[in-house]
C-alpha cells in the first residue's frame, strides 16, 4: 500500500460516523479499566493511530475519581464533582463495552467478559487500579468495611465515611489506619487526615484525630507535619510504626483498632487496608507474588505475559508513585509503545512525569513532582529533578498551590473524560 492510498483511507475513515470507525479493520487493542490510566490510553491510541480498533472495557457507567475525594469526606465538595461518564471517549471512535472483564487467555489473545463474550486483541492494556487485600489485616473484611470504611475506592465508601463523621458527636475520637508501602496515592492518608482535621476544627473542635501508621516515614512528610503544627495543634496526632502505630487487627463491631502497644476505640474509624493490583491482573497472570505487576519500563509490557501491558496503580513502576497523574503519563507512553510495536518498530525510551497536589486545608496546597526514565529495568528518578514544595514558603504560595490543585483536577479529568 502506498502512502497516498493510506492517507486516502485515513481521511475517508475520518468522515465516517464514530461507530463505523470503531469497527475499522485495523489492529485491535483492548483496554481493560476506564480510570485515569485506561481511558487515557484508549484515547491516546486512537489519536496516535486512528485506524486502530480500540475497545475500552469498563464495568461502571460512571467513573468516580479518587483525587479530591478527601475533600468530599471533609464536606468541602460533593461526590458529583468527582464523577465522569464515557460519552466523549466513545465519540472518539472507541468502542466502550460496559462489562466486567473476568478472564484473559494470553495464548489465544482474548479477553472474556462476565457474560462469556470473548474479545480478541492484538495487544491488551490492563489498567485495573487496585483491589483491597481482604483478610490481610485480621478482622477487616468486606462486612467490616461498612462499620469502618476504607474509602480508598471513591464512591459509596467516600460518602459512608463522610456521613459517619457528620453523625459523630463533638468530642469523639476519629482514627485513620494508614498502610505500609506500596499502596495507591502515597500522600492520600495524610491529605485525608488534614481535611478531616479541618472538618473537626470547624465543626466539632473538641474531637481528636489519631493517625495510626504502619510506616515511620511518608510522602511530603515535613510539609504535612509543619502544616499540622500550624493549623491543627492538639487535634491531629500521627503515631508512626516505631511508636506503636501499626494496626495488627480490628474489631468492626466495637470499632476497635489493635496495635502492639494497645487498643484504640474509635467513634469513626477509617481503615486504609493493604492493597494489590485489580483482580483481572491476577486472572491474566501478570501479577507476581507481591500482588502487583512487573513491567518493562519502556513499553509497560508485562514481564510475565507478552502482549499484555499494564499501566497505573497496578504496575510496579519503580520510583513512580501510584497516582492519577502517573497513570495518565504512563498510559500515553504505553499507547505510543503499543502503536510502534504493532508497526514492527522498536519503541524509544520514554520520559515520564508525575505531579501530585495535596490539600492540607481548602486554601493550603502542597505538591510533589518527579521526572522518570527507564534505568536498570525500572523507572528511576532523573537525578536533580522533582521534589516537594519549598519548606517555609509564605501562605500565598500555599494558596496558589491550592488553586493549581483544583486546576490540575479540572484539566486532567477534562483531558481523560471530556
Amino acid at each position: 500500500m502506498t502512502r497516498r492510498t493510506f492517507l486516502g483511507l485515513a481521511s475517508a475513515a475520518a468522515l465516517c460516523p464514530a461507530p463505523a470507525r470503531a469497527q475499522s479493520a485495523g489492529p485491535r487493542v483492548v483496554v481493560v479499566g476506564g480510570g485515569f490510566g485506561g481511558a487515557s490510553c484508549a484515547r491516546a491510541l486512537r489519536q496516535l493511530a486512528p485506524r486502530l480498533a480500540v475497545t475500552l472495557v469498563e464495568a461502571s457507567a460512571t467513573f468516580t475519581a479518587c483525587p479530591f475525594s478527601n475533600a468530599v469526606i471533609g464536606g468541602l465538595r460533593e461526590l458529583a464533582a468527582q464523577q465522569f461518564g464515557y460519552t466523549r471517549v466513545a465519540a472518539d471512535g472507541i468502542t466502550v463495552v460496559p462489562a466486567m472483564a473476568t478472564a484473559v487467555d494470553p495464548a489465544a489473545k482474548s479477553v472474556t467478559l462476565a457474560d462469556g463474550t470473548r474479545l480478541p486483541y492484538d495487544r491488551l492494556v490492563l489498567s485495573p487500579g487496585i483491589d483491597i487485600r481482604w483478610g490481610a489485616l485480621p478482622g477487616y473484611d468486606e462486612a467490616a468495611a461498612v462499620a469502618m470504611p476504607h474509602a480508598w475506592k471513591a464512591g459509596e465508601q467516600t460518602l459512608l465515611l463522610r456521613r459517619q463523621l457528620e453523625a459523630m458527636d463533638d468530642g469523639g475520637l476519629v482514627v485513620i489506619a494508614a498502610p505500609a508501602n506500596p499502596f495507591r496515592c502515597p500522600p492520600g492518608p495524610y491529605e485525608r487526615a488534614s481535611l478531616i482535621a479541618h472538618y473537626l476544627k470547624t465543626k466539632k473542635p473538641k474531637s481528636k484525630l489519631l493517625v495510626l501508621d504502619a510506616k515511620d516515614a511518608f510522602s511530603k512528610q515535613r510539609l504535612f507535619q509543619a502544616a499540622w503544627a500550624e493549623l491543627y495543634p492538639g487535634l491531629l496526632e500521627w503515631v508512626p510504626l516505631s511508636k506503636g502505630g501499626a494496626v495488627t487487627s480490628v474489631d468492626a463491631a466495637t470499632r476497635t483498632l489493635v496495635t502492639d502497644f494497645g487498643k484504640h476505640q474509635a467513634k469513626v474509624a477509617n481503615v486504609i487496608p493493604p492493597q494489590k493490583a485489580g483482580r483481572i491482573a491476577e486472572a491474566a497472570g501478570v501479577a507476581d507474588r507481591s500482588g502487583w505487576c512487573p513491567i518493562d519500563p519502556v513499553t509497560f509490557e508485562s514481564t510475565l505475559q507478552p502482549g499484555i501491558h499494564v499501566v497505573g496503580d497496578a504496575a510496579i513502576a519503580g520510583a513512580m508513585p501510584k497516582s492519577a497523574f502517573a497513570a495518565n503519563s504512563q498510559a500515553k507512553s504505553c499507547a505510543a509503545a503499543v502503536v510502534t510495536l504493532l508497526g514492527g518498530g522498536t519503541p524509544a525510551a520514554p520520559k515520564l512525569i508525575n505531579t501530585c497536589y495535596s490539600l492540607v486545608a481548602p486554601d493550603y496546597g502542597i505538591s510533589v513532582a518527579g521526572v522518570y526514565v527507564p534505568s536498570g529495568g525500572q523507572l528511576a528518578d532523573v537525578p536533580g529533578a522533582g521534589g516537594v514544595s519549598p519548606a517555609n514558603a509564605p501562605r500565598g504560595t500555599r494558596a496558589a498551590e491550592a488553586v493549581l490543585a483544583e486546576a490540575w483536577f479540572r484539566t486532567i479529568t477534562g483531558e481523560v473524560f471530556g
Binding site: M1, R3, F6, L7, L9, A10, A25, G26, P27, A44, L48, A49, P50, R51, L52, D122, F325, N328, S329, K332, S333, A336, V339, T340, L342, G343, G344, G345, A348, A349, P350, K351, L352, I353, T355, S367, A369, G370, V371, V382, G384, A385, G386, G387, S389, T397, A400, E401, V403, L404, A407, W408, R410, T411, I412, G414, E415, G418
Partner: protein, 100 residues
C-alpha cells in the same frame, strides 16, 4: 489459502495503520506527560498555559529559565530540571508545530 490470505491482509492492515502514526510523528520523550496539567484538548479551560502553537523560542526560554531558577515557578522549576537542552529543543519544536 483463504486463511493465509486473511492473515496476509491482517499483516498489511496492521503495518498500514501504524505507518500513519510514523507519518504524523510521535511526540518527543516527555511531551505526552505535559497535558497532565497543560490542556491539550480545546474543550478544557485552565489557568495553566496551553502549549500547542506557542512560539518555539518562548518555550525554550521558559524551560531554560525554570531549570536555572531564573524564573520563579511553583512546580515547573522542579520539573524542568529533569530535561536536557536537546530534550527542551525537541519539546519546543513539537509544541510550536501543533495547531493552536
Amino acid at each position: 489459502m483463504a486463511k493465509a490470505l486473511a492473515a496476509a491482509i491482517g499483516l498489511v492492515s496492521i503495518a498500514a495503520a501504524v505507518t500513519a502514526s510514523a507519518a504524523s510523528g510521535q511526540p518527543p520523550p516527555g511531551a505526552a506527560a505535559c497535558s497532565g496539567c497543560h490542556p491539550a484538548s480545546a474543550r478544557v479551560t485552565s489557568p495553566v498555559v496551553r502549549l500547542a502553537g506557542l512560539e518555539r523560542d518562548a518555550i525554550v526560554r521558559a524551560l531554560q529559565e525554570f531549570r536555572s531558577g531564573q524564573r520563579a515557578g511553583t512546580i515547573m522549576d522542579r520539573i524542568a530540571k529533569g530535561f536536557t537542552d536537546e530534550e527542551i529543543q525537541a519539546l519546543a519544536a513539537w509544541f510550536a508545530a501543533q495547531p493552536k
